[in-house]
Structures are given as C-alpha cells and as structure tokens.
Assembly symmetry: C2
Homo-oligomer: 211 residues x 2
Amino acid sequence: MKAQPEIVKNATTEEKIKEAARRVFTTKGYAATRTRDIAEESGYNLALINYYFRSKEKLFDIIMLEHLQLFIHSIKDIVDNQSTSLQEKIEILIGHYIDMLIKNPEIPLFVLNELNANPAKLIEKLGFNQIENDNVYLVKQWKELAGAKKTLTINPMHIVMNVLSMTIFPFVASPLLRDRAGISQEEFNKLMEERKKLIPKWILGIIMTTT
Amino acid sequence: MKAQPEIVKNATTEEKIKEAARRVFTTKGYAATRTRDIAEESGYNLALINYYFRSKEKLFDIIMLEHLQLFIHSIKDIVDNQSTSLQEKIEILIGHYIDMLIKNPEIPLFVLNELNANPAKLIEKLGFNQIENDNVYLVKQWKELAGAKKTLTINPMHIVMNVLSMTIFPFVASPLLRDRAGISQEEFNKLMEERKKLIPKWILGIIMTTT
DNA sequence: ATATATTTTAATCAACTGATTAAATCTCTT
DNA sequence: AAGAGATTTAATCAGTTGATTAAAATATAT
C-alpha cells in the first residue's frame, strides 16, 4: 500500500510541478495539456504528477481555484471601505487589477474559458457568499449618487461592464495588439499603466454625462 | 482508389457536418472536441468527417477562417466611406458588430483562444493586406481631428482598445453576467442593443474631454 | 435496366493518454 | 549503520482518439 503524501512534506517538488502545470495549462488550456507536458515542463517524472495530485483534473482545479482567489482577494476590503469615496474606490480597484494583470496576463482568458465550458462548477467555486451585493458600502454610495442625480437613468450594469471591459479586455486581446498592431510587451504595459488613471476618469465622465 | 469529393456534390451532408462542427468546436474548443462528437452532433457516421474534410484540423481551419471573415467582412466599406463622418463611422461600426455578435455570441472567445494558442497561424490567415492602415479614410479623419484639437494627447490606441473592449468583452464575459449577476439572455441582448447608441456617445465623450 | 460513380457505413488500426504498479533511491530518525 | 518512511523512477496497462479501409447502399448517367 502506497502512502499518500502527508501534510508536512518536501514542498519544492510539489510546488515546482504546480508551477509547471500553471504555465502549461494557462498557455494550452486544459484539454490540450497532456500530463506528459507538465512532467516535461517541471523536469520530473510523469508518475509524480499523479502521486502528488491524484489526477490531472484535481491539479487543474487547484490551479483554477488559486487564480480565482487572486481575482477575489482583497476586493471586499476595497469595496467595503467606508473612508473612501466612490471615485476613489473605482480608482483603487482598477489600479489593483491592472497591477495584478500585468503580473499575470494569461489569467483572464484562462478563467473565461473555464467559465464558458463549465459555468456551474466555477460559480460553485467562486461561492455566492463571497460578495454580498447589497451590504457592500460601494453599492450604498452608488445608490446615493443615483438618487441625487436625476439624469442618471442608464442601467448600472453598463458601468460595471465598462469598468471590466476597459480593464480586462486589453489583456485578453493582447496577442492581437502585439502581432497585428505591432505593439511590444513594454509598450503594452506602459499603455496599461496609463489606463490606471485614464479609465477612472472616463468612467466618471460616463457616469456624469449619460442622460 | 477512393475518389475525393468533387466540386459539385451534394452539399447538404458536408454543410451539416460543418455546422455540427461549428457548434461543437465553439463550445468545447479544438482540443476537447473529438471527431466522434462532431459525428454524433451531425447525425452522420464518423468516417464522413475525414471523407469530406481530410482531417479534424482542416475542418477546424475552415470554420476558423469563416469566422474570421465574419469579423473582417464589410469593415473596409464602412471604414473607407468618404461620405460619413468619423462619429457616424464609429456608430455604424459598433452597431454592425453588436448585431453580428448577438447572432454569434460564441465567436469572440473562440477566436481569441486561437489567437492566444497559435498567433502566427491566425495572423497569416487574417492577411496583413486586409486593412491597409494608412490609406483608410477613417485614419485620415482621425488625423485631422487630432491635428485640430490641441488637447488630444493620449495614444489613439486607447480609443481602439476602448471601442473593442466595450463592444466585444460583454459577450466574452456573458456567462459570468448570466450566472453570477443573474441576467437572462434576453436582458443581456437588450443591454447590448442599448449599447449600440451608448458606446459611440461614450467614445465621443472620451475623445473630446481627455486632455 | 444496367453500369458507373458517389455517398455512407461498420470494423479496425496504430498512436496517444491518464493512470497505476513495483522497484529503486533518498532522507531522516534512532 | 540500520530501518522506516518518503520520494522518484521505468515499465506497463486499459481506454480513447484520429484516421483508414473495404464493402454496402444510394444516386446518376447511359
């Protein structure tokens, strides 16, 4: 009888396999990734990936969960902060995400694919209790603003869409920008740094002027 | 010796297989799609897909090319029209794309994935001569505007990013909006119809106010 | 109607893939 | 240094997958 890996163990091999798997999964996707690719990328033997993670799918689930947590992590603190204005919150949120995405540009497409292929599984992982929509301070501030400005008649979902779109989509489309528009990695990152200030300004303009 | 399918032949079977393949490929992706899935979805025998299309990859390439043409088709006419203003062009373009995406909401993620996994192959398919950036009338109009307004100092790429983001991204993220934000298919489409008018207005505001 | 070509089917193949196994090597405690 | 447990390896397995084949069924032309 083979002993399963215990809680305390040499973390380096397991961690290296996980890192290799992260690289391969995010570039090739789940189905196109062979356990042999992960073994090769990690430099370890094929059997180790099943030894440490039981199955390809379990390994994938672990990586997906960690990526999702990167998305959700610390949002609640920003969104529920009572000492920042609505405008400040938007600015901090967007800056926070652009920083994270410059470090991990492959995450959005990776997550969006899983969301498309397996919505139920992923929504369950996200947990519906992560963000209680109604009790968040940002939502209160938004409602106050909406109540004050009589002109604000568009569906608030448009604003959410715009923030997410303008922040995340460039990363999803970056291969197009690079290969087709001839923008280098450095130029792209510089553009995204600029957008940290620009997007909040644009969003505020949209909120204030849309009748 | 087996005869290859000739130019004139019963198009229905081949077309039905292609349609089935389109459905399966766009929902599951290339690697996760088995030729048996396509056969089952089409209702025809497994061997037919290789009989008509030589290989799974060739079938995929055909479908990908057709989707790309949907993206590029008729853009040149809009963009190079000398009798419409810059603002009108933006409005027509966005309306055109939203119409197309409401009919084919699965295309963007499908194409973006291929772009990510195989940029060179896809760029070659797109053809660099499809849009000659400099000789297009829209570019002339933009340069005139940029010359007139001294305040227009941001990189024009930001505007391109914003148009593409606000138009395309909602479709890529629609499973999130549906399952997480509880928006139905009808509500989503209604929001996108609204955005046909809203996005051009927002873009114009961004162009005019960004210092 | 008969022959010819096209279309469709069932059966099969070789390569690939995720997973398992048993043995070998390493690490650490005693 | 001996033993026990943890880690790593090579070999192998059963199931899957894209593709091929030969034959049957159908359509088309003469």
